[in-house]
């Protein structure tokens, strides 16, 4: 009797996992996202949310990040800025005017002052209970569930952000990014650059795009590049195929025309996803940042380009 029970329990336990199944299932969600980021494949596209799901909750709010987690988004892009008293908070603009019920520059306000504000929704209405979150609060929410891509940190706040990640144990779950050269970033931030995940951005007027990439690869071996291109005849666009051959993730951001030569989210809705997202994937995108999460996720799932 007990032998049988033992046998059944044994069977059940192993049938759950199967033999030789992907071990990623035993680890966290962020581990498998990072694995895919490091090892891009043609048949799986990573989805990056621009400022959280701002169609569902105020941009850069905890609720907008939670929504991304719920939808199964891989990476959420968040903007952080430094308050007067040295705290990093999520805020896109330099001022709090557009997105909160207050007025003034983030850099002129203390965290306490900012916490008194309430966020507005995307039609500018006050009345949300949501507050401006700190980077620390974001990392506690995101930890092990979704990777975070930090924007607006490259100037002065890499060190401050790094400190928060150290304290929250999330250094390996955050992607920093910036437009400056590898040499400049190393000079400014030294060894921190070797510990953090750093994604160089190739913007359209990057001088000598291929040299920019080569130098980064030599000094910092980035696992991903954000590449924008206003046309398909640009140096930047040519880098996509190069990065594909090197097995380095390419992130495209079809938020507006000049970033992906017109192959935008808007075009996906108006002319069909194949004309926009499909085109980007065909041309080498491994990750796509979007303002249309539902539509992109549905499209990729329909094409069998999502693992889950």
């Amino acid at each position: 009797m007990s032998k049988n029970l033992f046998f059944i329990a044994f069977l059940l336990l192993f049938s759950r996992y199967g033999f030789g199944q992907d071990t990623a299932q035993l680890t966290t969600r962020t581990d498998s996202i990072l694995y895919r980021l490091k090892h891009p494949v043609k048949n799986e596209i990573l989805v990056v949310s621009h400022r959280g799901d701002w169609r569902y909750a105020p941009e850069n709010s905890l609720m907008s990040i939670q929504r991304c987690i719920d939808l199964g988004v891989d990476i959420v892009e968040i903007d952080v800025r430094l308050t007067k008293d040295g705290h990093l908070v999520a805020m896109h603009d330099k001022t709090v005017n557009r997105t909160t019920d207050g007025k003034g520059k983030v850099s002129d306000m203390t965290l306490e002052e900012i916490k008194k504000l309430r966020l507005k929704n995307a039609c500018g209405v006050k009345g949300s209970r949501q507050q401006v979150p700190t980077l620390e609060e974001i990392m506690f929410l995101a930890k092990d569930k979704i990777m975070v891509n930090l924007d607006k940190v490259e100037g002065e706040t890499v060190k401050e952000a790094y400190k928060v990640l150290k304290e929250t144990g999330t250094v390996g779950q955050v992607i920093f990014k910036g437009r400056e050269t590898a040499d400049m970033m190393l000079e400014k931030f030294g060894d921190i650059m070797k510990e953090i995940i750093y994604m160089p951005i190739l913007i359209d007027n990057t001088e000598n795009a291929s040299g920019f990439v080569d130098r980064y690869n030599e000094l910092l071996s980035p696992i991903a590049y954000e590449v924008t291109f206003s046309g398909t005849d640009t140096e930047n666009f040519k880098q996509i195929a190069r990065l594909n051959r090197m097995g380095i993730t390419v992130l495209n951001i079809p938020l507006w025309d000049a970033l992906t030569a017109g192959h935008t989210d808007e075009k996906a809705l108006l002319e069909g996803a194949d004309e926009a997202w499909g085109w980007l994937i065909k041309n080498g995108a491994n990750a796509i940042m979007t303002d249309r999460l539902n539509e992109l996720l549905n499209y990729l799932e329909g094409k069998g380009l999502r693992k889950h």
């Binding site: 007990s2 033992f6 059940l12 557009r98 929704n121 209405v125 938020l255 808007e266 303002d291």
Partner: protein
């Protein structure tokens, strides 16, 4: 010994299962909530009108605030189209007059927040406004243009009811456009005025187009204003603002509704509904029970997808 081993295995198995189930549950559940998912059942316009004119028939009318601004710029044609596709009953849009006397959709007095231009609507001509682009919820320009009221009503014609906000001072102009586009029976004009005031100013229109008085229930005169309408011109509905859910007048909703006037409350933000608002309902749709429990039959929302889903599950909506 063996028994203990078995129980250890069983325990591990249960724990692992629980964890996985929880994860699976989360993903599958959330993936079934894309924005327009509930969009497949359309209510015919005559049914919507019927529900509006017979507020006691048990159906609840869903009004989308500024169109579906989550998926298109607020007060844009695609924002209205998205409401139609979703099965929303009525779209609330804001009307303003240009310098040269045309009516366009615009919430703010200025065009700064929602377009690529700057300045007051009343200082711009329609031609020049038409060169601008509408911005999305992040402030990023989109290909969409500012629609005229005429374009909006032509799109709505035969498909969705329309509530015109900021329309009272331009009542006659709104009436004229509705008449010209053949949408008079789909349009509701509204204003925070007493029955005497409306009769005096726009009385000649009251039997031609639906007018909805707006009443703040915390106003000491609220009851007097309501009674004034109920005595003379029972309106299609009252739009009530309910800052606190303990206001005694709430108890009269059922009676007002049974006499033929609908009860319209905004779920938009807490000050409208004593804290039974859309943001709370996002976490727990049962928040909308406060509306149905209190005989409210018209709800203006910023979350039409969630509200429709809830009402349909309760038999309050087709």
């Amino acid at each position: 010994m063996k028994k203990r081993l078995v129980s250890v295995f069983v325990l591990i198995f249960i724990l692992v299962n629980c964890k996985n189930n929880k994860e699976n549950h989360n993903t599958t559940q959330e993936k079934t909530v894309p924005v327009n998912e509930e969009s497949r059942s359309y209510t015919q316009i005559h049914e919507i009108r019927d529900n509006l004119l017979h507020p006691d028939n048990g159906q609840v009318i869903v009004v989308a605030h500024r169109g579906d601004w989550r998926n298109a710029p607020e007060n844009s044609l695609p924002a209205i189209q998205s409401c139609i596709d979703m099965g929303v009953d009525m779209v609330e849009i804001d009307v303003r007059e240009t310098r040269d006397g045309h009516l366009v959709l615009m919430h703010d007095g200025t065009i700064d927040r929602t377009t690529t231009g700057k300045g007051k609507v009343s200082e711009w001509s329609l031609d020049r406004l038409k060169t601008l682009r509408l911005r999305d919820g992040l402030g990023v320009p989109t290909p969409n243009r500012i629609p005229t009221l005429e374009e909006a009503l032509n799109l709505c014609k035969g498909k969705i009811m329309v509530n015109l906000d900021k329309s009272y001072d331009i009542f006659d102009k709104c009436f004229e456009v509705a008449q010209r586009t053949g949408t008079l029976d789909q349009v509701i004009i509204k204003g925070a005025r007493t029955n005497e005031e409306v009769r005096e100013q726009f009385g000649k229109y009251l039997d031609k187009v639906m007018f909805m008085p707006m009443v703040r229930l915390s106003d000491p005169k609220a009851e007097e204003i309501i009674n004034g309408y109920m005595k003379n011109d029972i309106p299609v509905a009252f739009e009530f603002t309910v800052p606190s859910d303990t206001i005694a007048l709430i108890k009269r909703f059922g009676e007002i509704r049974s006499q033929g006037a609908g009860i319209w409350i905004n779920s938009l933000w807490p000050q409208h509904n004593g804290g039974h608002d859309d943001e709370k309902a996002y976490a727990d749709p049962h928040v909308y029970e406060w509306f149905t429990d209190n005989h409210i039959n018209i709800i203006q929302t910023d979350r039409p997808a969630i509200l429709l889903k809830y009402l349909r599950s309760r038999g309050y909506h087709h």
